[in-house]
């Protein structure tokens, strides 16, 4: 039997050779067959979305989406992939909500455009629009669990970029009836999505951090796992994207971004951002693509905001971002103390500029 302990171990091991579910799939299929009701129904609803997470899920290598559909979930609703359309599609939402109450899983991709409900209309019932702002909480209330995939669903993400024209918010800021699990990333890695779903099915809610991210995948900083960390300690810094060495000076946001990209890598492990010569832009961070992550090529702490913008993201993010950046300062200072920083040492990084306003200074709510 697939114990939780073994599952967790497999999840972190994946990076070695095989992918998450190559190791997992045989056990998983057996375990899911034993669940009452079999494969659980999944409704995948998009808000202010680019569909990039559906596409990323379809890039899942082991298991391929085919196996996910055959062995793991019963994907009842997906704007991109579902065969039925029109009323027949809308009917599936109502049927699943009613007949699979407390059994189905709601996956949300894209944020919730609270400030402009007309921005996302997912269908119609009897000629009248179904707004994502209403459909998502309505389904969440009846779901067994809610998973927000991608940075937009988790934290508002690119859809919430200043000045946030649609007043988009992350699902967990809107849905209160259920604990929402956040699987950020732009897009989310397929292993993060499949791993979270499987944990949910077999063992219930995964352990999460203060941003409701599964610790399994988001407990470490990109910077801490980065293969170029030695260059950082040796004071070897790339002067331009594509250069050798640590990419901190060309804007790397690895020191404030929690994700296991450096060991897991993307697209079946073939590559990942820093390995391709580019700084991490913090696409899994709560305030991406603003706050501490912008401008993408500006060195951390060098935060410039467009004139007239009072605040950036969820206020709690700022506090954590600042604390983490201070942490880098400390980390660098420790490097100096240990004399591990060579001739090309850089000045200690300052914390991101505090933007004005307190907890309630969010714009366009």
């Amino acid at each position: 039997m697939l114990t939780r302990r073994k599952f967790l171990k497999l999840c972190v091991q994946t990076t070695v050779a095989a992918s998450l579910s190559q190791l997992l799939l045989p056990d998983l299929a057996r375990a899911l067959r034993l669940l009452p009701g079999g494969k659980p129904a999944v409704l995948w609803i998009e808000g202010t979305s680019c569909t990039g997470n559906t596409v990323s899920l379809d890039n899942s290598a082991d298991p391929a989406l085919r196996e996910v559909l055959e062995e793991i979930i019963d994907l009842r609703y997906s704007q991109l992939l579902m065969w039925p359309q029109n009323n027949e599609a809308v009917q599936i939402l109502y049927d699943t909500r009613e007949k699979q109450r407390d059994n189905f899983i709601l996956v949300v991709e894209g944020g919730i455009p609270l400030g402009m409900p007309e921005a996302v209309i997912i269908g119609a019932n009897d000629g009248l629009p179904l707004y994502a702002t209403e459909v998502i909480p309505w389904l969440a209330e009846a779901a067994r669990a809610v998973v927000a995939v991608g940075n937009c669903a988790a934290f508002g993400g690119p859809a919430k970029t200043i000045p946030n024209p649609t007043g988009t918010k992350g699902v967990w800021e809107v849905v209160t009836s259920k604990p929402v699990i956040n699987v950020p990333g732009c897009p989310a890695h397929p292993d993060w999505m499949v791993g979270t779903l499987v944990h949910l099915l077999l063992y219930g809610l995964p352990e999460t951090d203060e941003f409701r991210r599964p610790r399994l995948f988001f407990s470490k900083l990109v910077h801490d796992l980065c293969p170029r960390r030695f260059a950082f300690f040796d004071g070897k810094f790339a002067q331009a994207p594509g250069g050798e060495g640590c990419l901190l000076k060309v804007g790397c946001k690895g020191p404030i971004t929690h994700a296991d990209c450096p060991t897991r890598k993307f697209n079946d492990g073939v590559n990942w951002c820093i390995n391709a010569g580019n700084p991490c832009i913090g696409c899994a961070a709560p305030d991406f693509p603003d706050g501490g992550t912008a401008p993408f090529f500006a060195r951390l702490g060098d935060v410039h905001l467009p004139a007239g913008i009072r605040s950036t993201a969820v206020s709690v993010t700022k506090a954590v971002g600042a604390a983490t950046a201070l942490g880098i300062g400390g980390h660098l200072a420790a490097g100096f103390a240990r004399r591990r920083l060579g001739k090309n040492r850089l000045a200690p990084v300052s914390a991101p500029q505090e933007t004005s306003g307190g907890k309630d200074a969010q714009d366009h709510d």
Binding site: E46, T48, S49, C50, T51, G52, V55, D58, N59, A64, L65, R76, Y77, Q79, L80, L81, M82, W83, P84, Q85, V90, Q91, E118, A119, I121, G123, N125, D126, G127, L128, L130, Y131, V135, W138, P158, A159, T161, P165, T166, T168, C186, A240, P241, G242, F266, N267, V270, N271, W272, C273, N275, A276, G277, N278, P289, P295, F296, F297, A298, H304
Partner: protein, 470 residues
């Protein structure tokens, strides 16, 4: 006369609905509505220009390389940056692989369900009714390929990531070139993935589309539309990337090919949910604001026009202008052109791989950029003509404008009441059963609609019907 609305029209990128009037068994009027708005042009204002290459990719999760390359070209034009030859080749390779990814996903996951019955495990289950004409063995073969395509399309994205870092939303394309290096192991890996894709295209995709086109030959006469074709040119080749594999140009129905004149591109908002000046304007002159309650509006998509006329873009326009495929303009011609283009691109990609110089420069990085500049990037993406325009002042973007292929294809009416290309193509489509308008779905999907891209219908005229059972 009967009025029907298809909402949601599934198997598209982003939310979309179409309202049809049906008279004597044929579509007599059509309105297409994009139902997703995020406002990227507003978001880009005030940002560092380099950010545009990454942020604009977030418009669309299926064609991210198109926005990356076009955005980078806009910056290179504005700030006079030249991309090393290796960098151009790597971009072509990523663009090509991403296009194969798109075409495989489009044809198998989005289109083929209109022509075959659903295999077990199909998302959402089998539709209640359909018009399935293929002989049983052919049908089960294509069902099998549908499942295989779920995996093979991921392989195409893997090829993009070999040089792009990850896909979708690749990281290695920046203004000035590509940050990834040309190394033997990467070239070999890309080559190996490409040969798998090439084999799938030749052995499965092309025969499948040909079989469908034989059994549904009537669709060579459905969805014809205006017959105006437009391409901004794709895949830069030759010295300084001045040439294009697929040439830029325009063809008005039945007339001779013309050279593209960028100054003839306008967009307007008379039937879109935006407030602002309503006459056709050059994109950089247009400063509209979202207005979801505008009475005359019925879509989030604006109306791009070329010399004030609606034009369609995509593989058919590209292959037509390149002289590779000129059979006709219809639903089936669009599908055939897409499949043929996949084959054609795979051949070119092998050439580009051979031209790469290992260890050679791939990037000309310029930072800080000059404080001000103005430029444009024009390219043809998976679905057709894509252009980005940018103005920057004091080191920040002051205006950013994006006109996407799906805006060309799915646009609503313009100020003169002319329908968008998809709307026009729907006119005359036979609909046997208005309760199950599969024919209209086929016409619409032949354009590979991407609302995520197009917007960058419905009046909010009452309470939501969420609470009422259907």
């Amino acid at each position: 006369m009967r009025k029907i609305t298809i909402n949601p029209l599934t198997r598209t990128h982003g939310y979309f609905s179409v309202e049809l009037e049906i008279r004597d068994g044929r579509v007599s009027e059509a309105r297409a509505s994009g139902l997703l708005f995020r406002g990227f042009e507003q978001m880009l204002q005030g940002r560092a220009p380099h950010d545009a290459v990454y942020l604009t990719q977030r418009i669309c999760g299926i064609c991210s390389s198109a926005h990356a390359i076009t955005g980078a070209q806009a910056l290179e034009d504005a700030f006079r940056i030249e991309v090393p030859h290796n960098g151009l080749l790597l971009r072509n390779l990523m663009y090509g692989a991403d296009t194969l990814q798109n075409h495989l996903r489009f044809l198998y996951l989005l289109v083929i369900p209109d022509y075959i019955s659903a295999p077990p495990g199909a998302p959402g289950g089998a539709p209640r009714r359909g018009d399935y004409r293929l002989p049983k063995p052919v049908q089960s073969r294509i069902q099998q390929h549908y499942l295989e395509a779920l995996e093979t399309s991921g392989m195409a994205h893997k090829a993009v990531a070999v040089f792009g870092g990850k896909a979708p939303h690749l990281q290695a394309i920046v203004a000035g070139g590509v940050t990834e290096k040309v190394a033997a192991d990467k070239v070999v890996r890309f080559q190996s993935l490409l040969s798998h894709l090439d084999k799938f295209i030749r052995d499965k995709l092309l025969p499948d589309v040909e079989d469908i086109s034989r059994c549904y030959a009537d669709y060579f006469a459905v969805g014809t539309g205006y017959g105006n074709l437009l391409s901004f040119g794709q895949y830069r080749v030759g010295a300084k990337g001045a040439g294009r594999v697929f040439p830029a140009g325009a063809v008005r129905f039945g007339q001779k090919q013309e050279a593209l004149q960028a100054g003839l591109i306008t967009r307007e908002i008379s039937h879109s949910w935006y407030h602002g000046r309503e006459e056709p304007l050059a994109p950089l002159q247009e400063h509209s604001q979202p207005a979801p309650n505008k009475q005359a509006g019925y879509s989030w998509i604006q109306a791009p026009r070329y010399e004030e006329l609606p034009f369609e873009g995509g593989p058919l326009a590209r292959l037509w202008l390149a002289g590779i495929y000129r059979n006709g303009i219809s639903v089936m011609d669009r599908l055939m052109a897409r499949a043929l283009e996949a084959k054609e691109i795979a051949v070119r990609m092998n050439d580009w791989l051979r031209q790469l110089v290992p260890g050679g420069p791939t990037i000309n990085w310029l930072d800080p950029l000059p404080a001000s500049g103005e430029g444009s990037g024009m390219s043809d993406s998976m679905r057709g003509p894509l252009a980005h325009w940018l103005q920057s002042e004091n080191g920040r973007i002051s205006v950013y404008r994006i006109v996407t292929p799906s805006a060309w294809n799915l646009s609503p009416r313009d100020g003169q009441g002319r329908r968008g290309p998809l709307e026009e193509a729907l006119i005359g489509t036979p609909v046997a059963d208005p309760d199950n308008p599969v024919e209209a779905g086929r016409v619409i999907r032949s354009f590979d609609p991407c609302i995520s891209c197009a917007v960058h219908v419905l009046q909010r005229d009452g309470a939501s019907r969420l609470w009422r059972q259907i």
